[in-house]
């Protein structure tokens, strides 16, 4: 299983905060997951997730570029942070 989370503007633009996916037997990487989400949910999602400042985190650690995923991972998509 994969737990996918969306925060802030991304969450609002997609209209949801999270979704769960069953783990595919053939394995999955981050870019492929993103492409699957866009295929399933349409061009609105593609536009949002393809914004070039979107940050991706796997198991609560920011990831630069693509990376292999594993069953049970938590994946998050969010915009640049503005705390402090």
């Amino acid at each position: 299983m994969l737990n996918v989370l969306f925060f802030a503007r991304v969450r609002e633009q997609l209209g949801r905060a999270s979704l769960e996916l069953s783990w595919p037997e053939e394995g999955l990487d981050l870019d492929t997951l993103q492409e699957q989400l866009c295929c399933e949910h349409g061009d609105g999602w593609r536009e949002v997730l393809a914004q070039d400042n979107i940050i991706r985190a796997v198991n609560q650690v920011v990831v630069a570029g693509n990376t292999d995923l594993h069953d049970g991972d938590e994946v998050a998509f969010f915009p640049p942070v503005t705390g402090g």
């Binding site: 989370l5 925060f7 802030a8 503007r9 985190a57 609560q60 650690v61 920011v62 998050a76 969010f78 915009p79 640049p80 942070v81 503005t82 705390g83 402090g84």
Partner: protein, 158 residues
């Protein structure tokens, strides 16, 4: 509220809705230390206006779990770079009003150089690394706060 305590030096992180008491935070920073010398602190407040927009209410969203661990990581990095005795961050989330306290960073060290540098380093990294997002509301309009380019430049200094 989430609190973590890690030794050598003691690091404390709290992400909470409640307001905080800076005097109590500074006492906790020093409590039980056999030595001290210098404490540098930073307190951030909700702006009353931001880039000429009035701020009515500020909503602070975070990523529970990752927010705490990324702040802990920032404090550990600071402790690896400077000789610190204690370092602590409190960051609020939820609905905040203009003028309210948002964030407090406190660093205790034997020497002021380390305390100042570490405190500023932590703030610069908090601004650019910790998953918090600010949304300003005023009347019917709402507005996600954009990251400041100058914040990225400041974090790149270190």
């Amino acid at each position: 509220m989430t609190t973590g305590d890690l030794s050598q030096p003691a690091i404390t992180v709290s992400v909470q809705e409640a307001d905080f008491d800076i005097a109590r935070l500074q006492s906790s920073l020093l409590a039980g230390l056999a030595e001290e010398g210098a404490v540098a602190t930073f307190t951030g407040y909700v702006r009353r206006d931001n880039e000429d927009r009035q701020v009515g209410v500020l909503e602070l969203e975070h990523y529970p779990g990752m927010t705490e661990s990324s702040i802990t990581d920032i404090l550990r990095q600071a402790a690896a770079r400077w000789p610190l005795l204690r370092a602590s961050v409190v960051h609020r989330v939820g609905r905040l009003l203009p003028g309210e306290q948002i964030v407090w960073v406190g660093v205790a060290s034997k020497h002021r150089e380390a305390a100042f540098s570490a405190c500023e380093f932590v703030m610069d990294y908090l601004k650019t690394q910790a998953p918090f997002w600010k949304k300003e509301r005023a009347g019917d309009s709402e507005h996600w706060v954009a990251p400041r380019e100058s914040d990225n430049k400041r974090a790149d200094r270190w």
